[in-house]
């Protein structure tokens, strides 16, 4: 008869203790895995989505909220800012690049972001198929959205599903981006004007035209500088974009579109890179002190956030270590406690020729089977738990949380097995050294 039969039969005979040990181990492993996954996800998102953004400018409010909503797209924006005020800072001499963002709508939970092609360049996002938008209500969909080329859809107000649908305008998908592993994969990008117009605001092009006609030459010159700056960046698409706006006007005229774009244009945020590290410090200071805008430093805010999360993460880590320790102790007490009643059985095995080594293996294997079953169950629970959390916890889902197998998984696996083995060591040694003659003479 093989030893596995003896081991399984023994575990079955102590099923309550066995089950409890398996579940305690499983919960500990599950918690560890969730912590590792969550930390890894946050780190990946912070690194990938926040890379190369020095300053974010938006409406006053929580700086962290501004960063989370504008860079990571997992919170609601702090509000809107007047475009003309934003534009001053976009053209500041210490600002290297500035990408405006206009948020406010979504399609099936995927945020519709009004922006410029600079946004795509920032994340090195290339098109898998199609082209960039050339006129309002043309959209480029991220690779992880459920949109295909040529699809049409209507935006819904708000940044999560279920808002009022803007029936008056319909977007058409003219491009799909290649997967970038960044937030762009889960966004729907369109022109600024699309978002502004749909909310009854004047498009940026309209706005400038009005001002041009109004004879504000300084502003007109600035506008030229702005265009020159874009030329410097060789954004050919930008020309298309401007052409697109003209098309948009024609289209509006052709169709007798009566949507009133009367409000002054407002955007949600500007993502900036600066020309020098000192500007990273000075520009936010000036903006925060002297304007109605708010400037936040993503690196600083994310450091604060990860520090706060780190505290929580450490608490959960401590909890998981505690759970695994309890599980290991439970395995130890289960084996050691049952050993008292099993010494006679083990003495019989030794008498009929089972070696000390074999007895050691049998007892150690009993403990290790509990640990292994608990670890596997814990991993499955952890994977399922993380996927469920990604479904029901909006920020996780919105940030594209998914399971990534990391070296930490192996570390958890090895650590738990090692802890389990240590727990089985003492009972297994004691069992292998059973006093056979004494047990057989005296044990009932």
């Amino acid at each position: 008869m093989n030893d596995l039969t003896i081991i399984l039969s023994s575990l079955k005979s102590r099923w309550l203790n066995t089950t409890m040990s398996v579940f305690l181990t499983a919960f500990g492993v599950m918690l560890s895995l969730l912590i590792v996954q969550f930390s890894s996800h946050v780190e990946n998102r912070v690194n990938a989505d926040g890379r190369g953004i020095d300053i974010v400018v938006g409406a006053k409010g929580s700086p962290l909220q501004l960063i989370l909503s504008s860079v990571y797209h997992i919170d609601i924006p702090t509000g809107n800012i007047p475009y003309d005020e934003a534009e001053k800072w976009m053209k500041h001499r210490h600002v290297k690049t500035a990408t405006p963002l206009a948020l406010g709508d979504n399609w099936k939970g995927y945020r519709i972001v009004g922006t410029t092609p600079d946004y795509l360049h920032h994340y090195n996002a290339n098109l898998l198929e199609g082209r960039l938008w050339r006129k309002p209500f043309e959209a480029v969909a991220g690779s992880k959205t459920d949109l295909k080329m040529g699809d049409t859809f209507k935006g819904a107000h708000g940044l999560t599903e279920g808002g009022h649908v803007h029936d008056e305008e319909q977007y058409v998908v003219v491009g799909i981006t290649k997967e970038t592993g960044t937030v762009i994969d889960r966004l729907i990008l369109t022109s600024l004007d699309s978002v502004l117009n749909i909310h009854g605001l004047a498009g940026v092009e309209d706005y400038h035209d009005d001002h041009h006609h109004g004879g504000e030459h300084d502003h007109h010159d600035e506008e030229h500088d702005h265009h020159d700056e874009h030329d410097d960046h060789h954004h050919d698409e930008e020309h298309d974009h401007h052409d697109g706006h003209n098309d948009h006007h024609d289209e509006h005229d052709d169709h007798g579109h009566h949507h009133e774009h009367t409000g002054e244009p407002e955007i949600t945020a500007i993502l900036m890179t600066t020309k020098s590290p000192i500007a990273n410090i000075n520009i936010p200071r000036i903006i925060n002190r002297e304007t109605i805008l708010q400037a936040a430093n993503p690196a600083l805010e994310m450091a604060r956030l990860t520090s706060m999360l780190g505290l929580g993460s450490r608490s959960f880590t401590a909890l998981s270590v505690l759970l695994i320790s309890i599980a290991v102790l439970n395995i130890f007490t289960g084996l050691a406690g049952s050993l008292e009643n099993r010494m006679g059985d083990l003495a019989v095995l030794r008498a009929v020729g089972y070696s000390k080594k074999r007895i050691f293996k049998i007892i150690a294997s009993e403990g290790m089977m509990i640990v292994l079953a608990g670890t596997i169950l814990g991993f499955l629970m952890g994977l399922a738990g993380f996927n469920i959390m990604a479904e029901i916890v909006t920020p996780l889902g919105a940030s594209g949380a998914s399971i990534h197998f990391t070296f930490s998984f192996v570390l958890i696996f090895i650590s738990v097995l090692l802890a389990g083995f240590i727990a089985t060591l003492l009972p297994a040694i004691r069992a292998s050294n059973v006093d056979v003659a004494r047990q057989l003479s005296h044990n009932a």
Binding site: M1, S9, D345, A351, V352, G353, S355, A437, L440, N443
Partner: protein, 210 residues
């Protein structure tokens, strides 16, 4: 023709605990079924345990089929027991969470279910294969213990107080079963007991006193 060695040869065997001799056997040889007879505390179980390789002696020499195994390592003794010895323990020592088949199979170095089933049939245990040992009656346990002792066709069957708590009828029945199985496998029975009722069944009787 070379003479066959004695099954066991014991020479000046001593066992001491805390400097006190609890066993002192000058010499004797085992050539057939042997009974170690004596009152409680005379050292008969100790002697049997030393002969079975379950307990080391403090001094002296003991051979099995001409091989001195007094100085064997644990592993060598394990191997000796597994291949040559069977045991009927005083309190049966069934492993409660294993079924009858599994309890008997414990002694088989190579699993042979046909042999086990044959033994079970011989001992009136047919139909009890899957029953947990802990659910058996004392009588059934006794028969399973005998089946387990002979399942690996041992050369020697050690029986420690096999009849101590049995009435005359059951004593005869148990000894019949042990000797019948021993005969089938050509095994030598060595029993330690204070029960002189079974004396007549043995070729040699070593009477021991406290």
């Amino acid at each position: 023709m070379k003479a066959m060695p004695d099954i066991f040869a014991v020479n000046n065997l001593k066992k001491s605990y805390d400097g006190k001799d609890i066993l002192n056997v000058p010499s004797f040889n085992v050539t057939g079924h042997t009974l170690l007879l004596g009152p409680s505390g005379c050292g008969k179980t100790t002697l049997m345990n030393i002969m079975a390789g379950l307990l080391p002696s403090s001094s002296g020499e003991i051979t099995f089929e001409g091989t001195n195994y007094s100085t064997f390592t644990d592993t060598q003794l394990d191997d000796l027991r597994a291949k040559n010895f069977g045991f009927v323990f005083q309190r049966m020592h069934m492993i409660g969470h294993l079924n009858v088949m599994q309890n008997i199979a414990l002694t088989q170095t190579k699993y042979d279910p046909d042999r086990i089933k044959q033994l079970m049939s011989d001992l009136g245990l047919s139909g009890k294969e899957e029953q947990k040992a802990s659910d058996l009656s004392v009588g059934e346990m006794q028969r399973v213990a005998i089946a387990r002792a002979v399942a690996n066709n041992p050369k020697v069957i050690f029986a420690d107080e096999p009849t101590s708590a049995l009435d005359d009828k059951n004593t005869e029945s148990v000894m019949d079963l042990i000797f019948t199985q021993a005969k089938k496998t050509n095994a030598t029975v060595i029993a330690a007991t204070h029960d002189s009722r079974i004396k007549k069944r043995f070729d040699n009787v070593l009477e021991m006193s406290s």
